[in-house]
């Protein structure tokens, strides 16, 4: 407690760059600018209730949901294999898995452009077999692909770290009590890994639901997710008030889903990435 002053620099940083902007966003969302200056109102939130915006919200949530599900389906078995005791080349596999994460997020996503383009890598290969070029870019599929590709490690790592902590003697105890491999997994390994699953789900779902880069690059200029909607309010429409309101709504949605998650994840474990 004596060394509390060591935390002051970060404390100041936090106030200037997190707390103050948050208050500003909240302020903007609750006001509109008129000739007489700012006026408090809830109009910005009412605007959001129009079907066109709700549709954007729905699309964001469902795409993020689908991506999270795919990440879980792909990620859980991967984590299971990584955590298994027989894996001797574990560190190398782990290295391969983490390697893309060292590259810039934007670059990684751009790379998919050249692969999926009309004259891109995949369509070129298909043309050798006499198959007409397929429209791979600028649709839901491409956006989901981008999300899964970018966020998969965030699903694997927390599950892996929880699985690795499971004491092997618990598995032996289950076998001893008559459980074959399938029952051991269903009744012991999977329930014990749930904290990792929950934290994996939130670590994939949160960035997926708010992304605007993936949807911009792989979904195309007209593609609209909630992230793009917010970005546009600030960069091209210049309606900071509406943009702030959507941001607040987004934050509330995230807070609620975090709350639901932490209710299941009462052991508060498995968050640590490294």
């Amino acid at each position: 407690m004596k060394r509390r002053f060591l935390a002051y620099p970060y404390f100041i940083w936090m106030i200037i760059f997190i707390v103050v902007p948050l208050i500003l966003v909240l302020f903007y969302s609750l006001t509109i600018s008129t000739e007489n200056g700012f006026v408090f109102t809830l109009d910005n939130f009412k605007t959001f209730l129009q079907p066109i915006y709700l549709k954007v919200l729905w699309r964001s949530l469902s795409l993020a949901g689908i991506s999270t599900l795919i990440c879980l389906i792909l990620g859980y078995p991967t984590a299971l294999i990584l955590a298994s005791r027989q894996m001797s080349k574990k560190s190398f596999l782990m290295f391969l898995f983490v390697l893309p994460m060292w590259m810039n997020f934007l670059l990684r996503t751009y790379a998919w452009l050249t692969l999926l383009e009309k004259n891109g890598f995949i369509n070129t290969i298909l043309s050798f077999f006499g198959i007409e070029p397929i429209q791979l870019l600028y649709n839901d599929g491409a956006v989901i692909l981008g999300m899964v590709y970018n966020f998969l490690p965030f699903m694997v790592l927390p599950i892996y770290s929880v699985l690795k902590k499971i004491n092997h003697s618990v598995i032996e105890a289950a076998e001893d009590l008559g459980a074959n491999q399938y029952i051991v997994f269903r009744k012991v390994i999977f329930p014990l890994s749930l904290p990792g699953v929950f934290s994996g789900i939130s670590m994939v779902f949160m960035p997926a639901v708010t992304t605007f880069v993936i949807s911009r690059l792989l979904g195309g200029g007209q593609y609209m997710l909630i992230g793009n909607l917010i970005e546009r309010q600030f960069t091209s429409v210049y309606d900071w008030h509406f943009g702030s309101a959507v941001s607040i709504i987004m934050m509330i949605i995230i807070l609620i889903s975090m709350g639901v998650m932490s209710k299941y994840d009462n052991q508060q474990e498995g968050g640590g990435l490294w």
């Binding site: 003697s169 618990v170 289950a174 009590l177």
Partner: protein
Amino acid sequence: MISKGGNAVAEHIIELVDISKTYDSTTEVLKTINLYIRKNEFLTLLGPSGCGKTTTLRIIGGFEQPTTGKVLFEGKDITSLPPYKRRVNTVFQKYALFSHLNVEENIAFGLKIKKVDKDTIKEKVRSALKLVNLEGYEKRSVDSLSGGQQQRIAIARALVNEPDVLLLDEPLGALDLKLRQDMQVELKRMQKQLGITFIYVTHDQEEALTMSDTIVVMKDGIIQQIGTPEDIYNEPKNAFVADFIGESNILSGIMKQDFLVEFCNHKFDCVDKGFEINEPVDVVIRPEDIEIFSNDSGKLEGIVESITFKGVHYEMIIKTDSFSFMAHNTNMYPQNSKVTIDVAPENIHIMKKAVN
């Protein structure tokens, strides 16, 4: 061991035949273990860490495959049977309870897999909890229990399946002394009450002596001696066993003839024979068998070098010209005082020199 109505094979519930275990093709953990375990006996595998006792237990439980040899269960080869198909249950060293399940669900785990109906499960869990003196703990979470309580749950979880054999891997190792002694008595009571064969692994010789019908002393993957606690304590086969089971004075001696041994430059009568004349031997004397005299009626002269009070007795180091003896006596002889010591013939144990 042939009893009325049964032949020798049926009496042996488990038999280990020429079992050996090698890790990474170099580390030899077990070297040709041959052992049979009788029905309803309390057998203890005893030895220092790394002697292979836990590996032996894990081979019986099916968690490890022997490199060579066979495991027989009631005469049938079960060497390649996976753990979940064996009629044995294990109590693990660190309890290995399922932390995502409560006490009742932990104990019911095995029964549920066997598809026992719900009412029977409830009844069996209740009586298992009664057996381990934890009635009414059904709905507790296992993390809220103390070490001793968790241990009992682990025992209940294994016993509720009514195994033919219960394997226990140093189950009391993590408990404090008082609790450990209570649990020793309780385990023995349960074993008698249920009539189940217990195979118990420990490095604690006192624990082994207290509970066992049969003790198997192991060292470096080799069985040193098999016998009743009395046999092992009173007639240790070699210096290692003597030293490991209780404290001992181990001296080098020379067998002069049958019933006569020389050590510390004195000749002593003994009850052993069959050695060659002038054969070098190990002489083992228990500390409590050393008689101390303040006059010179003993054979060896010595000086009391140190005294430690141990509760029931005093532990004294008595230094003679050639050896420092450890002696236990209820009488205290003052430090630096001159004493003489002697040993009765039946308390001198002669052993063949250990081949190193």
